[in-house]
Structures are given as structure tokens and as C-alpha cells.
């Protein structure tokens, strides 16, 4: 498959502007979906730069403090240290969940946008589902982000706070909207003679679209193979090591063996680092691959010159390859690899932003015509 500059005949596809009019379900889902992905990615980059490493260091320090408190036989200090560990882990966990859910809801919005012509409902109902989906897709990540700060304040429940309740409500809205679209799709297939859907988006064979589709599927396959390798070779070993190192640490503390406690703490830190980079590389490779494949379909809506569309596609693929590889190398090369990984993430964000602006230009042109 070659990705040379496409000729005019390659990019001219029959578009139906009626499917992308102002405030249509498809336009809401495309612009809202890419917006969610962009905000989620930016949030992830900011989190990786300013919170992730500092937070990991605090967790390690609190765990070390707990082990040394156990060594000294100081039970109240053990408890205090574990309260700190719990708080730092909750902070990290909710930030990761915010990042992941925002991006995944963006992906799902893009998928639902592509499927709009097959949803056999009135445009008004489809628009209602799109609004419901985007409301839930925004509510859940924001509420998850607030869990760490709101806690159980004024909560009617013992273990679940208001932020968690709103996060669950956001999830429910997304489920209802997706269910609505599934019913619309089934409606389409159940009709006596399903209307033949001709969508210009799916007819596009531009160079940028082909590069994104091929690059995306290769990335997804690479991510799958890496995940299978990790599950087969390292996952169970890492899980066994996790509890055996902690057991060794606590037993050494009980036996007043400071040297073993310190060695166990170091081994535990290295193990956590190893697990995190492998899982992050696996997840990011597949997610970026999926993003590239989805963006391939939206290229006809990107109102930029063909040469620029191809350049941004290359930038997106380059960033998608750079980030997971550099994340994997972080353990060996430290901050240099970490910085390059963040740069890879930035490339993906910039390319996505450029495509988003291209789509906005297309909507502007459509609106001016009408």
C-alpha cells in the first residue's frame, strides 16, 4: 500500500452535506468526540508531566515509612503511613480513570457518528441521544476526577460519595444513549427492505485515509501481540512477586531485619515500574491504533490541503509509535525516554487538533452555504 500524494480523482467522494448540518447528531458526535479525546489526552500529558512521577515517589516514601515504622514496632505510625498510601493511590487511580474514560467516550462518540446513517430514527431523536451521550461522557470523567477531593462529604451512603454517585449517573446516561442507537440500528435491519445507505465518508480512499487505516491496524496488532507476550511471560510472575516481596518486607520488619526491608522496598519499586510501563505501552499502542483507524473515515470532513492531511496523518502515526516504545524504554533510560514519550503524546495531540480544526473549517463552509 503506497501513501503517495493523492490525485484529485482519489479525494473526490460523493459527500452528503445533509448528514453533517449544524447541530445534527453526526456533527455533535464528531466535534464532541474529538473534543473529549483532545481534553482527555491533554489531561493525560499534564498528569504524566506534573503528577504521575511525584505521586509514585510519595507512594514509595509512604510504603518505606510504614515498613520502617513496623521495624520500630510503632503501630500508630504504620496506620498513618498506610492512610497516606491509600490517599496517594486514590489520587493516582482517579486521575488515570478520568484520562481513560474521557478518551474512550470520545472514541465511542466517533464510532456512533460514523454509524448515524444506519440508525433508523428521526434526526430529532438521534440528536437527543447524541446530547445524552455527550452529557454522560463529560459527567463521568469530571465526577471521577472530583472523587479524591469530595470524598464522603454530605454523602447519604457509607462508602460511596456524591462524586461517585454522579460518575455512575454519567455512565448510565452513556449506556442509555448507546442502547438507543443500538435499537435504531436493529430497527434499520428489521425493516422489510432496509434502505441502501450510501455514505461519502466510507467511500473515501485518500492517501491520508489509507495511511491512517493501515497504520492503525498495524498498531492494534502490535499492541495485541505485546499484550499476549506480557500475559504469557511476565503477568503471573509479576503478580506472584508483588505479594512475595511485600510478605518478605513485612516479615523482615517483624524480625527486625532492616537490610532486607530496604532491599525489598527497592525490589518492590522496580517491580511496580516494570508493570506500569508494560501495561501503559500495551494500552497506548492499541488506543492510538484505534484512533488512527477511526480518523481514516473522517478525512473527507477535514478541510485541509491533501498534502497537509497526509503530513498530519504521518505525525499522528509517528507519535503513536514513539510514545509506547519510549514508555517501554523508561526503565532503562529514565527521564530521557520519559520526555520522548511525552513528546510522542504531544505529536498525537497536535495532529488530532489539526484534523479537528480542518473539520471545523468544513462545518463553517457548510453553514455559510446554507
Amino acid at each position: 500500500m503506497a501513501f503517495s500524494k493523492s490525485t484529485d480523482s482519489e479525494v473526490t467522494v460523493e459527500m452528503q452535506p445533509s448528514t453533517f448540518v449544524a447541530l445534527s447528531a453526526r456533527r455533535l458526535l464528531v466535534l464532541g468526540g474529538i473534543g473529549l479525546i483532545l481534553v482527555g489526552m491533554l489531561f493525560g500529558d499534564i498528569f504524566a508531566l506534573f503528577v504521575l512521577h511525584q505521586n509514585a515517589a510519595r507512594v514509595s516514601a509512604s510504603l518505606a515509612a510504614a515498613a520502617h515504622a513496623a521495624l520500630a514496632g510503632d503501630r500508630s505510625a504504620v496506620l498513618a503511613s498506610f492512610q497516606d498510601v491509600g490517599s496517594f493511590l486514590e489520587n493516582r487511580g482517579t486521575k488515570v480513570d478520568t484520562h481513560v474514560h474521557m478518551i474512550d467516550f470520545g472514541y465511542l462518540a466517533l464510532i456512533l457518528a460514523i454509524l448515524q446513517p444506519w440508525i433508523a430514527f428521526e434526526e430529532k431523536a438521534k440528536r437527543g441521544f447524541a446530547r445524552l451521550f455527550l452529557a454522560g461522557g463529560m459527567l463521568l470523567p469530571v465526577a471521577v476526577f472530583l472523587i479524591h477531593y469530595v470524598g464522603l462529604a454530605y454523602s447519604p451512603l457509607q462508602t460511596i460519595g456524591w462524586a461517585s454517585i454522579f460518575a455512575d449517573l454519567g455512565g448510565l446516561l452513556v449506556i442509555l444513549a448507546t442502547l438507543g442507537y443500538l435499537l435504531g440500528l436493529v430497527n434499520h435491519f428489521r425493516s422489510y427492505a432496509p434502505a441502501h445507505v450510501k455514505d461519502g465518508l466510507l467511500a473515501d480512499r485518500s492517501a491520508a485515509g489509507r495511511l491512517l487505516l493501515a497504520g492503525g491496524i498495524v498498531l492494534v496488532l502490535a499492541g495485541f501481540l505485546h499484550g499476549a507476550y506480557y500475559a504469557g511471560v511476565d503477568l503471573y510472575r509479576h503478580e506472584a512477586l508483588d505479594s512475595s516481596i511485600l510478605t518478605q518486607m513485612a516479615k523482615a520488619a517483624a524480625a527486625n531485619d532492616a537490610g532486607t526491608v530496604d532491599r525489598s522496598l527497592e525490589a518492590y519499586g522496580q517491580l511496580q515500574g516494570n508493570k506500569v510501563v508494560n501495561i501503559a505501552a500495551h494500552a497506548h499502542t492499541i488506543e492510538f491504533g484505534l484512533l488512527a483507524m477511526m480518523l481514516a473515515f473522517f478525512q473527507p470532513y477535514v478541510r485541509l490541503r491533501e498534502s497537509w492531511k497526509l503530513r498530519w496523518a504521518y505525525v499522528l502515526i509517528l507519535g503513536s509509535v514513539l510514545l509506547p516504545i519510549c514508555v517501554l524504554m523508561e526503565l532503562r533510560f529514565g527521564l530521557v525516554a520519559g520526555g520522548l514519550a511525552d513528546f510522542g503524546g504531544l505529536l498525537v495531540i497536535v495532529a488530532l487538533l489539526a484534523m479537528w480544526i480542518g473539520i471545523l473549517r468544513y462545518t463553517g463552509q457548510l453553514d455559510a452555504q446554507t
Binding site: L115, S164, I175, I217, D242, A250, A254
Partner: protein, 164 residues
């Protein structure tokens, strides 16, 4: 729309809904309790160490190992069901470009959908039984997914025939 394409798209949306519903159920009814259990067993273990009681350390870490094993898998199941479902839909949308006969495409689509459903299911079964069967189901699911995606990639890369 061809049968294989319909299978991937409808199956993908249904799997995404199932994964989201599962995540919602887990977040409301099980996640907080699981996290509390992990934290409490860890704190109990180190408290036992401070009391110089190695037997209690061992017991608390057994609880920790079990709770962490289960929690990690529950979260993985939720993420993998939804992630694979999105991939099913996206591949379904592009399925017209796979240059195989419809029968072969239907086999690929069925294998992909089956793998996407049973791989996380096998992982979920591991929380009830640590034996070889759940692990085998998970491996079978992942092999189906990878093999189907490889086949689809080959179909996408196949040369366009002159009449197309």
C-alpha cells in the same frame, strides 16, 4: 450491508453495552469494597509486623493477594470488553474493504466476535477458579482475536482486482 459486517457492528455495540453495564455494576456494588479490602489487608499485615507476629503477617498477605488478584481482573475485564467492542465496530465499518469472499469474511467476523467475548470472560472466570480451564478459555479468546485480526489485515492489504 453484508451479514459479516452486520455481525461485527451489532455484536460490537452489544458487547460495548455489556462491558459498560458490567463496569457500572462493579463500580456501584463491588469496587469500593474491593479497594477497602486491599488496603485493610495491607495495613493489617504491617501492623502484625509491628507486633512481631509473622503468622498474622502471612495470613493478611494471603488476603491481600486474593483481593488484588480479583480486583485487577475485574478492571481488566471491563476495559477489554469495551476496547475490543470498539475495535469490532471500527473493523465492521471498514469490512467492505476486506477483499475476501463473503463466506470467509463471515468466518473471520464470527471468530473475532467470539474471541472478543470469551477472552475477557475467561479472565473473569479466573476470579472464581485459579485452575487451567479459565486460563485456557482466556488464551483461546486472545488467539481467536489475534488470528482474526491478522486475517482481516491480510484482506485489507490484498491487491484490488481490476474490475473493482
Amino acid at each position: 450491508m453484508s451479514g459479516s459486517r452486520r455481525l461485527l457492528i451489532v455484536g460490537g455495540i452489544a458487547l460495548a453495552l455489556w462491558g459498560m453495564g458490567y463496569g457500572l455494576w462493579y463500580a456501584v456494588f463491588a469496587e469500593h469494597q474491593a479497594l477497602n479490602g486491599i488496603g485493610a489487608s495491607l495495613a493489617t499485615a504491617f501492623d502484625a509486623a509491628a507486633r512481631r507476629n509473622p503468622g498474622a503477617v502471612e495470613t493478611a498477605f494471603r488476603d491481600y493477594k486474593e483481593a488484588k488478584y480479583s480486583y485487577d481482573r475485574q478492571v481488566d475485564v471491563h476495559g477489554h470488553w469495551i476496547g475490543l467492542a470498539m475495535l469490532l465496530i471500527v473493523v465492521g465499518i471498514a469490512f467492505d474493504r476486506v477483499r475476501f469472499a463473503e463466506r470467509q469474511k463471515l468466518v473471520l467476523a464470527s471468530a473475532f466476535l467470539a474471541g472478543a467475548a470469551i477472552f475477557p470472560f475467561g479472565v473473569l472466570l479466573q476470579t472464581f477458579d485459579h485452575g487451567a480451564i479459565p486460563r485456557g478459555i482466556a488464551i483461546l479468546g486472545s488467539v481467536l482475536v489475534i488470528a482474526a485480526l491478522l486475517g482481516i489485515t491480510l484482506g485489507l492489504a490484498a491487491r484490488q482486482s481490476p474490475e473493482e
